[in-house]
Amino acid sequence: MSKLSEKAAALLSEGTVGLVIGYEQGTHGTRPKFCRKAEDAATLILNDKCLNNIGGYLTKPELIGSGKVAVTATLAVMRTVVQLTAEHQLTDGNVIVLALDGDEVLQMASIDEIKKWLAAHPEDLSDENKALLSKLKALSREERWNFWINEMNKCIKCYACRASCPLCYCNRCIVEVNCPQWIKPWAAPLSNMEWQINRVMHMAGRCVGCGACDRACPVHIPLRLLTISMAGDIKEAFGVASGTGNIDGNVLSSFKPDDKENFIH
């Protein structure tokens, strides 16, 4: 058994946690794995092929119950835990984060510890994403609009982007509100566009850049280009890195009386 499996099994058999959420090998890539008994932990793996953001499960009471849980964490999952805690969706100390340092298992029990680790391990955009982004930015307004309309045409409104996002934890999403109906809920080019604009606006400053939405989309709309651009805009306009648990970064849900803009006073 790997050290990670041993650690997870120990947490479960000691009763420190009732659940360890991690990853196991799936059909092609890896997939989330829920361990409720020590034996379940035997197949746990954690490496850079673990791409689902399992931090999203932490806000689901039906899965988590009321006890402590452990989660094996990639950097994206760590950022998720930090951001969700800042948004008061998790209680600091209720989630144990297991990470790997080489083949040693680290157990982090506080947000400060996780933040320190994250600060020491910055992640930059991949070259591929940088290239795609500059290609998109080089387009004229009209070309860019056509690019997105063309992409949004494909959307089937399955909401896999929403379901896979750990920061989409609303019980009732804006697309399900029908009095008034803000966004038409059926799939159509314009309402698909409205849906994505809303989704990404709600992510402003909160998105942890895990890319889960993008990978979940069954019709391969490059949703990451939206979230990455949004994070870039937030950084530029507000000087805050998105998804780092800095509540000032939640730019659409925070208000400061001394805001430098005066139109809202």
Binding site: G26, T27, E62, I156, C158, A163, K184, A212
Partner: protein
């Protein structure tokens, strides 16, 4: 084949075929035989959107003071459509779909679209580990429900089986002279082999009395409750009805919905009979393998494997079903 497809397109019928865009192959209306994709296992979405669109208008209305006029959809305007290069499992999906849309109420929109559709299947040359048609009564060379079935032969020729009158009517004059007898050709040699992993009867038996089994929670812990599996599925027929209303008129719209969504069963009074994802996963499996066989005498799964390929968290249906089949 290209010549035949070309004359079908020229005949003015709407021809829909698999087309590659970026890294995905999906059905689309084509205007040239060159657009048809090769070398893929499965389209991402099923072909159901051509008989059951992702969003369709049921009727529209106009208001003028107290006068309201209702305009029904004119089904005569639906185009004659040839679905070209379907797989046998795409056609298999139309049987449960037709059964659902004719269960008690006869759905005129579905039936009108279906009546104007001709189905040309290509026997599958390749399959992958998600395919399990053979376990649910189908197969890569199955002709049930097809109007025409084509099997590509290694020398570039094609074996064409004209199955129904609709299929026979599709053979254009210019192509009739190009045909010869197919005697002695064993098509099994040229199609994919798909292993049988369980039988539907085994699954149906195992599902009896399974309602409270812990297996639902075990299998579905990771399920996110999105609609990807249902929307790519050729047999999922759940829909939502929405109003698109404006001051002087509006439309009633039917659009795809999914039993995987947490709000799907939310009652107006606030009660929700399926509060957990495991209850929703159970519903998905039981609907396809228990309720539909019982009420509609048809299995609600074609073994195409689309749900599993589309699932963001690898809810692999053939793996789950194999587990159910071998469960004590």
């Amino acid at each position: 084949m290209e010549q035949w497809l070309g004359s079908l397109i020229k005949s003015g019928k709407r021809v829909v075929a698999p087309v590659k865009h970026d890294d995905i192959v999906d059905f689309a209306v084509i205007s040239s035989p060159a657009q048809v994709a090769d070398d893929y296992v499965q389209t991402r979405l099923s072909a159901k959107q051509y008989v059951f669109p992702k969003a369709e208008v049921l009727f529209s209305y106009k208001k003028d003071g107290k006068d309201v006029t209702i305009d029904d959809v004119n089904t005569d305007e639906f185009p004659e459509t040839v679905l070209w290069k379907l797989h046998p499992c795409d056609v298999a999906g139309l049987e449960p779909l037709g059964a659902i849309f004719n269960w008690d109420y006869k759905d005129s929109l579905y039936n009108a679209r279906r009546a104007k559709t001709t189905l040309v299947t290509f026997a599958c040359a390749a399959s992958d580990e998600y395919c399990f048609c053979a376990s649910v009564g189908g197969g890569p060379g199955n002709t049930d429900g097809s109007d025409v079935q084509v099997t590509m032969l290694p020398d570039g020729d094609a074996l064409v089986e004209l199955i129904s009158d609709k299929g026979k009517a599709l053979l254009t004059d210019d192509i009739k002279g190009e045909t010869s007898s197919a005697d002695g050709i064993d098509k099994e040699k040229f199609i994919a082999k798909v292993e049988k992993k369980f039988t539907v009867d085994e699954i149906i038996k195992k599902l009896e009395g399974s309602f409270s089994s812990p297996i639902w929670q075990e299998q579905s812990d990771r399920c996110l409750g999105c609609g990807a599996c249902a929307y790519v599925c050729p047999t999922c027929a759940c829909f939502d009805i929405q109003e698109d209303s404006h001051l002087h008129g509006g439309r009633r719209v039917r659009s795809w919905d999914s039993c995987g969504f947490s709000l799907f069963t939310l009652h107006t009074g606030g009660y929700n009979p399926r509060t957990t994802q495991s209850a929703r996963w159970r519903q998905r499996v039981l609907h396809k393998f228990s309720y539909m066989p019982e009420r509609l005498h048809v299995t609600g799964c074609t073994g195409c494997g689309r749900c599993s390929r589309a699932c963001p968290v690898d809810m692999n249906l053939v793996e789950h079903l194999t587990e159910i089949a071998s469960h004590e």
